[in-house]
């Protein structure tokens, strides 16, 4: 196990940069999530770390050593691919054993390690099957076992849950996280699903167009987004953004935008809100509308706890007094970067 450090990594395909200067330090044993929209360079970045792709410039350090020029097999990094990349002609046992065989590990040691890894993931009853005889969830666990079996320096996971259905995904999320904590493995986990990112990451790196926009704990990312991109990419529905003070922007989360009567005493800013439409989702009610005197590209949303809402306070077509606590207001300058309040 080892820390993974990248310094100003750039990868260009032709003229177009897929990764545009990512500097990121993942300390030993950390679970780092890379979160970003499709095509932002997440996979490319992982492929550079494991050596499948050579960076155009920048340094990669694993365990303190520069490994820019080492071939994949010398880096000791394990990667789990989006479609798992299991060897279809091998049994599960041989799939898991393969990374050990390439290292010429003695037979009895291989057998022991395979037992250990398959026990850990609860797949020892599947060892004699072929991948095509497994369900999606089982395949995912086999791929994970294969990645772990040789106790890699770091584990790279590229959207490992995207092939699973919603229910299995929740379970697998828990499993991976538990297991990572138990083994204490340095892990870089790629996803474009913010729920996965928030739920699993020790820290999250939000990536856009090959750049890191912000690195922080899930709380920091959610509460203190560094710029408009992060603010609107994380959260569902995303943060409301309105133009403010000629050129600047003002942001607040939908759950902080409440009828005035529901905002407790304390410093708060009042807005006039006209409700256009509301959706009842069981545990919450999402209300869409416009704010008087403020311009916004999207409809403004408010997320209300339905049990506590006085229906008359959100009647469609009418203007209602709404308010946001001042501590929940976020300010951005005209370039979209976070500023302290004006």
């Amino acid at each position: 196990m080892a820390a993974v450090v990248t310094q100003d990594i750039v990868k260009k395909f032709g003229e177009v940069p897929a990764v545009n200067g990512i500097s990121l330090t993942v300390p030993d044993g950390e679970f780092m999530v890379l979160l970003g929209p499709s095509g932002c360079g997440k996979t490319t970045y992982l492929r550079i770390i494991c050596g499948l792709e050579q960076q155009t410039s920048g340094d990669l350090l694993i365990g303190g050593n520069v490994v820019n020029d080492l071939p994949p097999r010398a880096r000791g990094v394990a990667m789990m691919f989006q479609s798992y990349g299991l060897y279809p002609h091998f049994t599960v046992r041989n799939n898991i054993a393969f990374p050990l065989k390439t290292q010429h590990v003695p037979h009895d040691k291989i057998e022991k390690q395979v037992q250990w890894a398959s026990q850990l993931l609860g797949i020892n009853h599947l060892l004699d099957r072929r991948p095509r005889q497994l369900s999606g969830g089982e395949r995912q666990r086999v791929a994970l076992a294969r990645a772990l079996v040789r106790e890699p320096t770091a584990l790279l996971l590229d959207e490992p849950l995207s092939n699973l259905d919603a229910k299995l995904r929740t379970m697998a999320r828990q499993e991976i996280k538990n297991f990572q904590q138990r083994v204490g493995l340095t892990t870089i986990y790629v996803t474009h699903d913010q729920v996965e990112a928030m739920g699993m990451g020790d820290r999250i790196a939000v990536i856009d167009h090959g750049n890191v926009r912000q690195v922080g704990t899930p709380t920091e990312i959610y509460n203190d987004p560094a710029d408009l991109f992060v603010a609107t990419f994380v959260g569902s529905p995303p943060m409301n953004i309105v133009s403010h003070n000629g050129g600047g922007y003002l942001g607040f989360r939908p759950e902080n935008f409440l009828p005035k009567s529901m905002v407790e005493d304390g410093a708060a800013t009042e807005f006039k809100f006209r409700v256009d439409r509301s959706e009842y989702l069981g545990a919450e009610r999402i209300v869409y509308g416009v704010m008087e005197g403020f311009e916004s590209k999207q409809l403004i949303t408010a997320k209300l706890p339905p049990a506590h809402v006085d229906e008359s306070a959100i009647r469609p077509g009418e203007w209602h007094p709404f308010a946001v606590k001042n501590s929940a207001l976020r300010y951005f300058d005209k370039d979209g970067n976070r500023t302290s309040r004006h």
Partner: protein
């Protein structure tokens, strides 16, 4: 409301949808193939079986039944046993050489390099050129006096003019020569088969093997080759069947010589049955291909079924 016209199925004639029926359409589609096989393969085959058990020659077209005596004659002839042996050497020699060339050719052609498209296109040539033409060129290359191969070897100092090999005159070299020519003809096909197979291996699997620490050889022979084995086996079945029954290269290059060293089943059957007019013995010789090919094909198909993933 807008009335939606024509949404109700009209009563059509009974035959209007006849082509939508799987059974009808299916039978219609396979009928030409079945007809072809029956008329142009089945009938001649049955005739050959009958000829082989008759005393038919073109000088004495007698249909009298002689049982298996033609087969006994053929097997007792040492020249035939030589021919049978030659056929195996010729077939497997050229298949192995063709596969090796095909595998490496495919590996080379997978990597991008300037002019790859052009090379991919012309690599097909040996397969596309009519064999009669190609053989003329090869004959010159193997010629006892004007051999380009010998000229090159002499120029490079490997041999001298005095001990230059007589490619088509020496029994072993003649066999080697026709194997080389057949492998040359077959390898573009092998390349295409390998390329198709390798391209179908998911990149994720290959990447996984790379990250798992596999080097070039392990990746090739433990991951890629086993994964493409079913398709390669099919290619090999074709190669074996075509080579085992082939007579053109031998006929055009060596005429079976020197002294029967390159005579193969197809050629011997043709010589005896057509050139010499002994149809019944010719048919018997040709029929020896059948059990051999049957065993090969059944074995390969079973192998493919077992390896299917």
């Amino acid at each position: 409301m807008v009335a939606i016209a024509d949404s109700v199925p009209k009563a059509h004639s009974r035959f209007h949808f006849i082509l939508d029926r799987r059974d009808v359409l299916g039978s219609l589609m396979v009928a030409p193939a079945i007809l072809y096989v029956l008329l142009l393969v089945g009938v001649p085959f049955l005739m050959a079986v009958y000829y082989s058990m008759s005393a038919y020659t073109i000088y004495n077209p007698s249909w009298s039944f002689v049982g298996l005596s033609n087969f006994v004659d053929v097997v007792e002839n040492p020249a035939f046993r030589q021919t049978l042996y030659n056929t195996f050497i010729f077939t497997f020699g050229s298949q192995i050489l063709g596969l090796v060339l095909g595998k490496f050719g495919a590996l080379l052609l997978l990597r991008p390099f300037p002019g790859r498209k052009f090379v991919r296109a012309i690599i097909i040539l040996p397969w596309a050129v009519p064999i009669a033409l190609a053989t003329v060129a090869w004959q010159w290359m193997f010629d006892s006096l004007y051999s380009v191969i010998n000229w090159t070897l002499i120029a490079l100092g490997f041999i001298t003019r005095a001990n230059a090999p007589n490619w088509l005159g020496n029994p072993d070299l003649a066999m080697l020569s026709i194997i080389v020519v057949n492998a040359w003809r077959f390898f573009p096909f092998a390349i295409v088969i390998f390329l198709a197979g390798i391209t179908a291996v998911p990149q994720d699997v290959i990447d996984a093997a790379t990250v798992d620490g596999a080097g070039f050889w392990r990746k090739n022979y433990q991951i890629i080759v086993p994964m493409i084995l079913p398709i390669v086996a099919i290619g090999l079945v074709f190669g074996i069947v075509f080579t085992f029954t082939d007579l053109s290269i031998v006929f055009l290059m060596t005429n079976g010589g020197p002294v029967g060293a390159t005579s193969v089943l197809g050629f011997a059957g043709f010589q005896t049955g057509i050139t010499s007019g002994d149809v019944s013995h010719g048919a018997a010789i040709s029929l020896f291909m059948l059990p051999v090919l049957l065993v090969v094909v059944i074995f390969m198909l079973r192998f493919i079924r077992r390896r299917e993933i």
